[in-house]
Every structure is written in C-alpha cells, then in structure tokens.
Symmetry: D3
Subunit: 338 residues, 6 copies
C-alpha cells in the first residue's frame, strides 16, 4: 500500500481530520461525503479533495477508498461504521462509538468480523501530555492505580450548543456523551483499560430545558451527570460532566492515585516519594494536536505499522458506563455491567 | 439556671473544649474526667476546674453537673453518652457519635428518651464561613442544591497519627470516620439535611499497613475512601477522605451546585447569574474558632435559648453512610439505607 | 424605513464607525465625506461606499441620506451637526458635542427643533462592562450614589498626539475634552444624569508647551486637569484627566459609592454587604466593542425602536462642566452652572 | 538641660507616647495624668512613671515638668495646650490641634506668646518612607509639585469606633478630623507647606447615623468627605477620608505630581524620566515607628537641637481646610481661606 | 553619497539584514550572493534585489557596490571580509569576526589598511535596553564597574542545531562562539571595552557527542564553557555559555557591579543608593530590533555620519578570550593575552 | 561512654551550639569558657552549665570534658583546636578552620596525630535540603557533576558587621572567609570532595574602607571576591562572595550541572530528563536547623556511631582555595594548589 486513500463522512469535525490528514505524508484524502453538498464542496476545495459525495453509500462502495473517517452526528456513527466495515474499509469513528452500548456492541462485532482496523476517535489520548503520562505509568512510576477522579465541567456553554446536540434521538445524550466520554476514556486508558463492572450514577437536567424553552428549542438530555465506577481490578473511578452549572469555572481534569505515585493531567504533574521525601515532578512536553496525532496513528495502523491503541472495545466499555449511569439515575441503585 | 455546670470526659480534645468553655460567660467547668489522672489534673489546673475524676461514672453521678462533653476515643462515645443521658445530663458528644450506625441509633434513642439536649460535635458547621454560607443558602441564593462534592484528603499524615486512630476496634475506622465524617456532615447540613438513601463506596488500605508494619504497629483501617451518596430529595453527594495518598496537596473542600447558584467553601465563594451575567461573589467573614462557637451553641441549647442545629440524628445519618461505604466495598454494589 | 442610509463626515474615527455600520444589518453606508478626497476614497473602497463627497454640504443636501455621523475635528462638530439637523437628518455627533457650552446649547436647540435623533457619541457607555453595571444600578443594587471618582490619566502620550489635538482653536481643549469628557460622562450617566450645579477645577500646562516647542509645534491647551463637581441631587464627582504627567501608569477608572453598594469600572467589581458581611461581586461580561454597540443603538433610535440614551443634553452638561473648570482655573473659586 | 522631663495627659494614645519616650535617652516621663486614675496608674506602673495626676492643672503647675504631651479627646486639645504653654511648658499636642480653626488660631497665638516649642503631632511625617520621600523632594527630584491626591478611606470601621469619636461636641468631626487630617497634612508638608487659599468640599453621613442608631448610640459627624483645595502657589490638592463606605478596600495614599517627577507614598515609588526614558524608582527604607520618631523630634526641639518641622501653624492650616469643607458642604460653593 | 548600495553574502541570517536594510531610507540592497542560487533568488525576489551572485568574488568586484554584509558560516568570515576590504568595500561582518584570534587579527589589519568601515555585527549592543543602559553608564551612574557576570545558557537546544554549527572546522567552536561571543561582548562594551589580559576557562562536551552520535552526526565542539577574565583595568568578568545542560531554564544575562551602582540587563534594572537608601530603578525602553538598529548604524558609519561603535578590534578581543578559554582547558591554568 | 561531656569556647555562636546540645539526649554541656566572664555566666545560667572558665587552658585541662566546641573569633581557631586535640579532646571547630592554609594544615596534622574526632563546623551541609540533595547525588541522579556555581552575596550588610570581622589580623579575611567558605564547601561536598588543583580569583575592597572610615573604624579585608576553581577530576566551580555590593538582592545559591541531571539549592530543585522529556523535580524536605543537626552529628562521631562527614581535611581544602584567591588577585594569574 502506497498512500492510504481516505474518505471522510461529515464536514464539521471532519474538517479537522482533513487538516490532520493533509499533514500526513502516508495518506491522501480521496473523497468527502456530506448530505450538505455545499459544505462538502467547500471542504473539498480547501483540501484539494477530488471527489464529493452526498450519500455515504456512494463512499462505502467507492473501490478506490481504503479507509473511512466517520464524523457525523452521533446517531449515524454505528450504521455508517458498520456499513464501511462490511464494505471492507478500515474505519476511524468519532467518539462516541454509538448511541448506546447495544449499538456499540454491534459495531465491535462488525469490526471483528471484518478483520479491518476499527478505531474509536479518542483524540485526547494522543495529546503530548497524555502520551508522556502514559509512559510514566507503563514504566511503573505510579505503581498500581487504585483510585481516579476525572471530569469535564463547564460553567456556561448553552449558548455554544447548536443543532442536534441537545436532542437525545440524534445525540444519545448530553454532556456525558459529549464531554464525559473523553475524560472517562482518558482515565480508563491511563489505568490500563480494566473493565468497568459496576456503576452508580446520577444525571440531571436542571437548567437546560428552561434555558432552551425560552428560545423555543427542545432540550431533552441531561446537563450535569456524575458517576462512581468500580473496575474489575478493584479500582474506582469517580467521574462528572456538565455543559452548564453553577461552578467556579470551566475545568477538565484527570487525577490518578497509585501505590507508588499519583498524577494530574491538566496540567501534567507527577507526585511521588524519592529518598523518603515527597516530590512533585513537572515534565515539559510537546504541544502537539491530539487530533493530528490521532489520525497519524490511524493511518499507521491501516498500514500495519502500529497496533491500534484506541479500539472499538474501548469505545464499547465507555458506552456501557454511560448506559449504566442513565439506568442508575432511574433505579437509584448501582448497575452491574455484564 | 444560672451558669451551666459542665463536666468534660477526656483531656485530649477536651482541652480545646475547656478553652472554649472558659470564654463562655454562661458556663463553668465543674469537673474533668480522664483515666489518666495526671493529664486530667494538668487540665484542671490550667482552667481552674475544681473536681477531677478518673471514672466517668463518678461524673455522670455527680448531681451538681448539668451537662457533659464526651471527648474520648471513639469506642467510648456511645456508652458514655448513653450513660450521661440516662443520668439526666445534657450531652455534647464529639464526632463520630459512635463506632457504627447500630450504636449511633441507640445513642439517638437514649437522647429521645431523656428529653435532654443531645448534640453531635460537628465543629466545622460553626466556622464563620460555614455559618455565612448557610445564610446564603437558607435565603435561597443557591436555589435547590442537587449536586455536591466534598472531601478531605492529605498527602502525608501517617507520621502525625498516634495511639488508637489506626486500630479499628478503638476508632471504628480510618480517615472516613476521622475526616470524612466532617466533610460529609458539612455537605448534608448545608443542603438542609436530606436523608441519605443509597450509597456506593470504596475504601482502600494501600499504604498504611506497610508503613506502620515497618514501625511494628498495627494498622487495620482504610487509608483512602470515596463514596457516591444519593439523598431522599434526589440530590447526589460525592465524597472522599484520605490520611495519606499520592495527591498534589492536602485539601479540604465542599462544593455545592444548585439551580440558582453554586458555592465553594475553602475558600468561600458563591457563583450566580445576575442580570444575565455570571458573577463570583467573594464574602468576607469573621475568623471565629469553630470549636468555640460550637460549645457556645451547646450551652445556649442547654439554657433553652436555642434549638440544637447539630443533633444526634445528624450524627446517625453520617454513620449510616460510613457503614454503607464499608459494606459497598465488600459487595461491589450500592447499599440502601433503610 | 428599510435600511437606514447613513453618511459619514470625516475619515479618521469615521473609519471605525464605517466598520461598525458594516456589521449592522439595519443600515447601509450611503456616502463618505472628507475634505481629503484620497482618504475618503480609500475608505469608500474598503467599505463599498457608493458616494464620495468633499464638501459636507453635498452630504447634508443628499436626499437619499437618512442619517449622518459627524466625526471631524472638534471645531466642526457644532456647525456640521446643526446643518445636518436643519437638513432633516438624524445625527450622531462624536464627543465632544461642541467646542464649548454655548455652541453645545445651540446644537441641542437645533436638535429639539428638528425632531430628529440627536445623539452624542459617548461610546464608553456602550461597552459590555458599562452596560452591565448600569443594570445593577438601575435595579438599585448601589442604592443612592452620592460620591464618585473618575479619571483618565496617562504617563506619556505626547508622542502619540498628532495634528489638531494640541491647538485650542481646533480642539477646544486638551485632555479634558479628549479624555475627561468620556469619564465624566460615564460617571454622570451611571449616576442617572443629575445636572451639575457647581464646579471647582484646576488645569495645568506644565509639560506640553516645552515638549512641543522643541519640535517646533504649538501647544496651547492644558496637559492635566482636575475638578470637583457638585450635582443637583447633592452628590459629588471628583474628576481628573491628563495626557502626560509623572504618574505611575496609564489609568482609566470610574468608582462609585452608594448607600447600598459601591462599584469600580476597569475592572468591573461591585462592593456590597450581604447577610451582614462585605462581599465583592465580580461579574463576567461580553467583550463587545463600544463603538459598534453605539452605532447599533443610533440606528435603532433612527428606526424608532429605541429611545436614545446618549442625548445632546448629556453632551451639553459635560461641556458646561469643562467650561467651568477653565473658568475656575482663572478665578480660583467655584463656578455655578446656571 | 539634662534629661527632658515630660508629662503626658491622656492614657490612651498617651501609652504609645510613653513607649516612645521610654526608648529616648534624652527624656524621662515625669508624670501621667488621666481623669481615670486606674488607667493612669496602670500606665505609670508599666513605664515606671513616678507621679500620677487626675487633674491636668496639677500637671501644668508641676514645676519639675519641662514638657507636656497632650493626648486626650479632641475637645480638650486647645484648652490644655494653651494652659500648658501659659504655664511655660513645651507642648506636643496630638492632631487635630483643636476642634476648629478659631480654636487652633488661639493655640498658635499662645504658642507664639510663650516662646516655647509648640508641636502638632503629625506622626505620619516621621515614618521612614515619608522622611525619605521628603529628601527626594527637597533635592528637587520632583521639580515643582502642582498636583496631589491624598486620602484615607476605609470600607468598614464602625465596629472599631468607640466612645467620643462619633460625637461632634467631643471630636469636632468624623473621619475628616480623624484620618483626613493626617493625609492632608502629609500632602501639604511634602509640597513644602504652601498655604491653602480656597476649598470646595462635600461631607456625607449616609451610613453612620443608621448604623449607630440600631445600637442606641449617637452619631452626628460625617462618615465620608472629599475636598478640592487650591494652594497659594497655584497647586491643587484633592483629598478624601472615610470611616466606612462601599469601596474596594481600606486604603491610605498620597500621590504627588511635579514638573520633574511624581511619587506615591504607600508604597513609596518615584516616577521620573532619565535619559529620555520613564523610570520607576523603588527605594528601600527603614521601617521605623512614626510615633517614636515624632517624640524623638519633639525632645530634640525642646533641647534646642532641632527646629520643629511640625508646627502649630501647620496644624492650623489643616484645621482651616476642614472648616472650609464643612462650610462648602452647606453653601454648595467654594470657601476662601483668609 | 546618496543611498548606500549594499551587497549581502549569505542568505540565512542575511535575510534578517535584508529586512533591516529595506526599512533604511539611506540604503538600497544592490546584490545578494549565495552559493545556493535558489535561496539567493528567493531572497532577491522578496526584497526586490536586482542582482544575484553565487561567487562572492563577483560581488566584491562589483563596482556599483559600496558596502558588503558578510553573513556566511563562520569559516568564511575572515577571507570574505578581507577580500571585500581589499576591494575597497565597507564591511559589516557577522560575529564572530573569524574562526580564531590569529585570523581575526588579519581582518583587523586589513580593515586598518583599507581605511574603510569595518564593523563587527554585535547586534545585542543595539537593543533598546542595551543602548539605554550604556547611557546610564556613560553618565557615571554606576561609577567604576569592577565586576561583571554574563552568560547565555540553554537547557535544551540540540534539536534546533542544524548544519555546520557542530563542526569545529566550519564554526570554530560551539556555544562559546555562537552565544558566548554575544554576552562577553555586551559585558566588555558596557564596561567601556577595557582589554582582557588574562583568562582561565573550562569547556566541556558532555552531552553533545553522544546525542548527535545517535543521529549519525559529528559533534566536535564544546556544549558548555565557563571563564574567568581579568581586564587591564583590574576588573573581572565571569562568563558562561551552553547549548544544552541540566539547568533550570534558558537564560541570558549580564550583571554589572560598580562603585556607584549596579545593573542587570534582561530585564533592565539599575541598583543604586539615593539619599542613603538603596533604590531599584526600573526603566522603560523602546522595544527596537537589535538587528535593524545595527544595520542602520552601519549605514550611518558608511555615510560618515557616525563613528563605528562596534569595531573590528572589539571582535578581535572577544576572539582572544575564546582562544584562551580553549587553551586554559588544555593547560589547566590561566592564559595571558598579549 | 554514657553522655558525651562537652565544653564550649566562645559565647557568641557558642550559644547556638549550647541550644543544639541541650536538645541532644547523648550529650551534656560540662563547661563554658569565655574571656568575658559575664557573657559566659549568662549562657551558663540559660543552659544550666555547671562550670565557667575564662581561660581556654582551664577547659582543655579539665579531665571531665570529652569534647570541645571552638566558637571564637577566627584568629583563635587553630591554636585552641590544636591545644584541645593535644589534650586528648574531640573537637568541633567553627568554620573557617584557621586563618590560612598553613595554619589549617597544622590543625589537620594535630587531628591526625590525636586520633580524636576533628570536625569542621560546616553547618549548611546539615540542613534538610542539603542532606536530601546529597542523597539524590549519591544515588547517581545527577550523574557526574562537571560544573558548579555557588555564591553568597549581599546588597547591604556593613551596618550588621561588628567587632573583629573587618580586621584581617583577627578574621583572616572578609566575606570570602565569612560567607564564601560556606558555599564553596557546599559545592565541593555535594560534588564528592574532589581536591581543588588550580584557582584564579579576584578580590576587591571598593566600598568597605570608605564606609567604615566615616565611622572611624578600620576595614582592611575584601568586600567582594570571585573565583574560578578547577578540581582534580576535571570539574569546575565558579564562586563569589560579598558583604555589600550594588546587586539586586541578597542571594545564596549553589547550582550543580551533571551529565544526568542538574540541581539548585535555595530553593531545592532537580532538573533531569525522563522518558525523553525535561522534568523539574521539586522535593519537600524537613526544615531542620543545620546547626542542631551538625552538633548531633559531632556527638554521634564522638560516640563512634558515625563516621565524620565534615573533616578537618575538608576545612583545609577550602582554606587552600581562599589563600589562592588572594594570591591570584596579586599575581593576576591562576595559582596551583600543591
């Protein structure tokens, strides 16, 4: 394989992927697909993409295409990814992998059957700080990580929300599936991807419905959620996500506590003992774009040069936790993950 | 009743209460009791306390005493408080109210039967910042509080731990019952004391046993714990406590999120919207000693001038949550509180 | 009226207004007028303005023009504004409204006679922080404002002064009429525009004449001035303005003290008591351009959708104070404003 | 004269002077006088003062006493100082010199007639930073100072006010005479004591009466005042003083602007141009007690070793300004000082 | 002479000089010379340079050229500069003037013989802060400077090093000749260019060889060096330079200690005593480009309007010190400079 | 040996050692010796020391004394230490060990002959940060240390200098022997005590003679000195010391650069690379008194429980460098150390 020929579905976040691919010597963008031809054509022009489609089936049946990036509203992630895999394409699907765990399991199954690369687009894993922290952890600097806190909360972002984000039948959920999915994945990945086994959670919609009602818009997802997740290795992850709530400030964080050391991401710090004294370690790291490094990794996997570190299974596990949070909100008790 | 005549059991933290009582015009310290007569006598001398006992039964049967402060190791809280109540004394018992919820329930029952004041010594409620925040909340500035995070974690305090703290049969537990009890109570009290109904928790002893084994000492309690608590009104509290763990720094915090505003304690800040814009409100407050204001409140309750705001029931509810955290650690699932 | 057709006189600050108007859906720039045709043509090209005039009479007699923005050297403010009003145009005149109070009164009179919108261009009123503070005040958060301090002082700006600014016969004055006019207006407007009744002031020209003499240029205005202004409602405003003086740093500020609260603009803070404790309120606000919001307001007034909040009378009152400062400098005593 | 023998009237601030005198090798405290014998005796014991009087006439007629420090409530400053001068004593009278300018003039007259040292206790002149700034000024570093701003404002100090401060018949005024007197004097002294010739001012009592009424106390002085003062040399001083008002924070400041440089006191900074560039000069200075250095200066003057730098005339000029502020508040116009 | 016609040799740093020359009204770029015609042509296009040469002899023999800027790898500085001088051109040669002191002496000799301007390109002398500090020093503000510390050290810059820098036969040395040359010159120039007479130094290559060996590249220069330099006037300069070493952070500094004051460059501060107190003077200065001001000075010298302040002799003295450092590293003792 | 019985000579810094010894369970202070009996008796009283001597020979001949601490002016260090060693006492001598290297060598010889503990009082080695850094270094965290900078400079301390410090015949030198001795020793000790082999240095007396002449006092030592020291292992130390000079601020520092890492003391930081990224390591350490830990170490050595880490040889090596600095100042060249 010379240059990997990539097709992109969706011209919103897809534009970001086009930028990343343009910098990637091993890839070329073969086609862009969007139901809105105008937006697709604009992107095609910006990145010299030769072909524009408006139906994704046109893309999946394009023989010249090796790999497909799915970057549409959440509702379409699963069906498009499955179709692409069945058509023999390698696929990188934007997070979340699907609307819920049932769908996500089908995507994973299709990936396994296809023998192709199925990657979930967890771009935050590919940031310079995340990658460096992962090296510390893999080298045993934190020992066994038994406790983690992770969250992405915002004080005010309703005014930035557009289109389909607030409609559950298009998005699958609110800040949990938009932001929480990122930080939960970060924590699990840094901990070595132990499986979640039991979850208690609460989700709330205290501000959104009222805010959007005034604007004549529907809002039927949560606006804040929190969860307590037990993992198969006995560790615990505490998580929260919010689009809007009366908190001090916007904040994204992942904090890990292990037997030999602890760590903060955002900003990156390691806490250990050396020679009997507590030490804070402050590393410098490369300020690389997570999105760009993510797409480079995908291309490398497609070429068989790397093993995919952000698999469909990882995307499924995160969806299982999210499903469980919604169910726990209904039942008031913890929910087991089979 | 002229001056309330108070007896103190325990000369450790009891010394602190003696200091507070000395500043209180409405009270006088009638007696001090400690099994270690030397320590008791020292305290008696410092505060001009006329009587020293070594058996608490001597104090509870002292007719001249109106009220008793129980400030002994946790194991003795329940029996001494019950004995004092049965002897017709008003009692302020240091937190935790007992070693577990079963014991705590008996204390509450004894309190109800006695008709006397039964106060749990949650001194952090009485700090200047806590009291001021409570006023904001009671005035509706935060609206309905539906989400809270609270915790007290330390990076390093094993070297400060003495005596009975690390032995479960004397203390009832580790940082949960020592520190967690404070912050959980603060959150519940600020939220208006809704009852906890379901709890998922994890407790760990990853560093303590090894650390103290080197010193030839027993350590059989947790060193870090976290929990997720659902309340009867639908709100959620997330909590953590630790004596030692690889975290950035020592930290005690209580963060509240409500429909009309949010708040941080430590340091005190209120977050609201005014005229369509987010505002941060930074109040100045009196730097009063929580312990001193607590004892003043107790005396005022004994004199019938105030209604007790830190009841035995509140102490019981916190114990129920702690019990549930330990059980959830064993079962891996949430635990209902009857 | 569909789109308001606006003509601009003056292509210096007029360029800023052209930019604002370009973003305004309800307006179109019909013509630009400048005695320097080259500069006018350049602006016309940048903003696709169809017509260029070099004599303002051409513009005022252009029937297709609804409204005129006067943005010339101060000397021409009054005659051009009066001419435009008499020609039936709505006018927004840059501050100061005129060279002195006598002239300003004639402008106001012409405005009244015309029945058209006459707006003084106090753009600082339209900044996000000013507008938000005004809402707090109108809602009574500060109570009755009885004392204000306002100023705009610079350590060094002689090297930035060009052309007509330093010549009294063109400008009417120095930093008082350039900077002081802004901050005095801000204070008065925030206080609810009570009329100034008595003024004591001092103006100095200690550095300017010498500095410009070295460059062979005339400088016959003040370089620093301060004033004490009593208002009809009993309140006091203290004011200062300087282009260059040996102060710590450049600074623009407006500080208000009221019976229920105080406030700082630059940066915006509110000081109050809540529940018996002093609180500092720090609002977030939109970083909008004062110039752009100002022109939007003017268009809205012209369309009859808003009541003008920055009237000719307000411009007159400020001029009365400035005149009084110069007179008080001469007399050494306070000056009454009729 | 060997050691100057000093008598002190008043044991409040008088205690501070006793401390200063104790450190002064050239002086000894011969007697202390207070109508409250208990307080006087306590002070006598602390500083080994041999004689205690309760009537000031006893002290003024004590032949063994060379000098007297008057440190009583303001009402008594003038009569006691005059009596002491007439008895042939040197006098240092706490600021303000009197209740008003008429009284102050009589004190000055008595001083002149007596031929003794009459010093006004402006202790802030004697601080390390004030003294150092004075050296810069006297050396011409600021050139001619033509503009000054000075003030002492507090956000909250009603709860610190006791006894006679709020009663005009005892104090002569509120924050103007308590705090304003200090900062106005500092500015005038640093400027070389040019005479004030015209004053416009405003004083307000917006918060005090109501605050103290709740406590059943009388409050009939101002709580905030501001003034604009023209000096005989053409310079201007703007001044403010407040005990309580809705301002950002407590602040005392003196800012000077001269032809060659400017300065801030609190903290001390000098602003100049050197080699064509603006420079900020930050001096280090000795952290000496103003009160102690003041009393050392008084003793030195009494011994004839120094010329008094804080004269009765200076005290009078300040009083003339304060009187004029009150009058200007009534008349709404400026007031000339004869 | 109308406009100075300048030829540039070398299109790397030469581009920077082209930019500076473009802003210089008194000069025009007549020709650009580079062995790589493509790079030269690119530069010619960017700056509208009429002639492109690939052999420097073409340029030196171009009669229309008045002055030449030599901006090639160090190895070529001496031969090209000498050739240009011999061809009757004024020359500004980038620092270092040559590969070593022997070569540098020949350059200086050629300059003297030619009677033309020979300037060494010490651009840091021409920064706003350097120029302002020089004025303070020349005015005697620091008195006699007897001690200086200067250095330019980096924590990590191996990854930025390209091409010929690490090869001694092309560069003459490592960070000493790249960075040290700048700071040593700054110190000497600010001190008034006293001649160095004796030098002890140490140079190390502890990290570079290993780092570049991994990349298959040669590295045969030092990576850190330090020196102690005695000057003819008795003063001492301590110096250091490094491209990469385990230090806290990148840092360039020059610190001067004199009998009347001291100074820091980076950032600019002056330390003196005034009126018996230590003062810190913080000047503001123009943020001008050293490179641009340097080339303006060269043009001014060529036109005979200025005396060259950055002579060939200065370049020679610095080279003598560098040579001595290498020799002292070998001998372990100090080295005299003849 | 039960408790080490210690005699102290000198009651200045000797008081500090008495305090340290008082906290040391293994030692008791047997006697204090000072030519000023009053000062000695005062110290004896404060620390319950049974015997007071005024002649050091009395102490050295006191059979009951095991060990002696010499804490007199520098001139007496050598003779008293030698006398004590010859009398069979263990000795801790305050730094510097002697007035010069010749004397110091005799002390070392006496120590060797005696077979007793001879310790040089380098208290800064015993601080918490120094000890922790030493552990990092001994564990190889910095690799081979090839370059160090160390210094102790003050802006202003002449006013703190008393008595014998400024007289060379009593002190042996100025800031070099007072402050420089500490930081030079710190650097050498942290580097593993390689022997100094060659030194270039400069010492200056630019401010001291003049300053003290005004006070009628002799000052014949340097006030600033700097040096460049080559060590037997090829490493270099750059050093400076000053009592008073026009520098930014007082500063004591030791900076180490090694092949694997670097370090700063004051405050303690380690600089390394981990996983290809530069990291800053910030340790927490115990804030112990260097003086107290030093005396504890001495007692431990006397009891044979520790090997002395601060030997006479170390004190000698530092003296050799200081001697060489003075000589290099005279010769203008480097000086070899035999």
């Amino acid at each position: 394989m010379d240059k990997v020929r990539v097709g992109i579905i969706g011209s919103g976040i897809g534009g970001l992927h086009a930028t990343g691919l343009s910098k990637c010597a091993d890839a070329q963008i073969a086609a862009i697909c969007d139901i809105d031809r105008t937006r697709a054509s604009k992107l095609a022009e910006d990145h010299s993409i030769p072909t524009v489609y408006t139906e994704y089936q046109e893309l999946t049946s394009d023989k010249s295409v090796d790999a497909i990036v799915v970057a549409t509203p959440n509702k379409f992630h699963a069906p498009m990814t499955i179709a692409a895999l069945e058509a023999g394409k390698h696929v990188m699907c934007e997070k979340p992998l699907a609307m819920n765990a049932v769908e996500a399991a089908k995507v994973v199954e299709a990936g396994a059957k296809s023998g192709k690369v199925l990657m979930t687009g967890f771009n935050n894993r590919f940031r310079g700080d995340s990658q460096l922290l992962k090296k510390f952890i893999e080298d045993g600097e934190l020992g066994e990580i038994y406790y983690a806190k992770t969250g992405w909360v915002r004080r005010r972002c309703f005014h930035m929300l557009g289109g389909w984000f607030m409609q559950k039948d298009l998005s699958g959920g609110g800040p949990l599936i938009d932001l929480g999915v990122h930080v939960l994945d970060l924590a699990l990945w840094l901990m070595g991807n132990p499986k979640p086994v039991s979850v208690m959670g609460s989700s709330y919609a205290m501000l959104g419905p009222q805010f959007f009602k005034k604007k004549g818009m529907v809002y039927d997802v949560e606006d804040l959620a929190a969860a307590f997740v037990k993992l198969e290795n006995g560790a615990t992850v505490v998580m929260e996500a919010s689009w809007q709530s009366h908190v001090a400030k916007d904040e994204a964080y992942t904090k890990l506590v292990g037997t030999e050391g602890g760590a903060d991401l955002d900003p990156l710090r390691i806490y250990k003992d050396m020679f009997g004294s507590p030490v804070d370690i402050q590393p410098q790291f490369d300020q690389v774009s997570g999105h760009e490094m993510e797409i480079r990794h995908f291309i490398s996997c497609v070429k068989g040069e790397s093993q995919c570190i952000s698999t469909g299974e990882h995307g499924l596990h995160v969806m299982q936790v999210l499903d469980a949070i919604y169910e726990s909100t209904r039942t008031g008790r913890s929910v087991d993950i089979a």
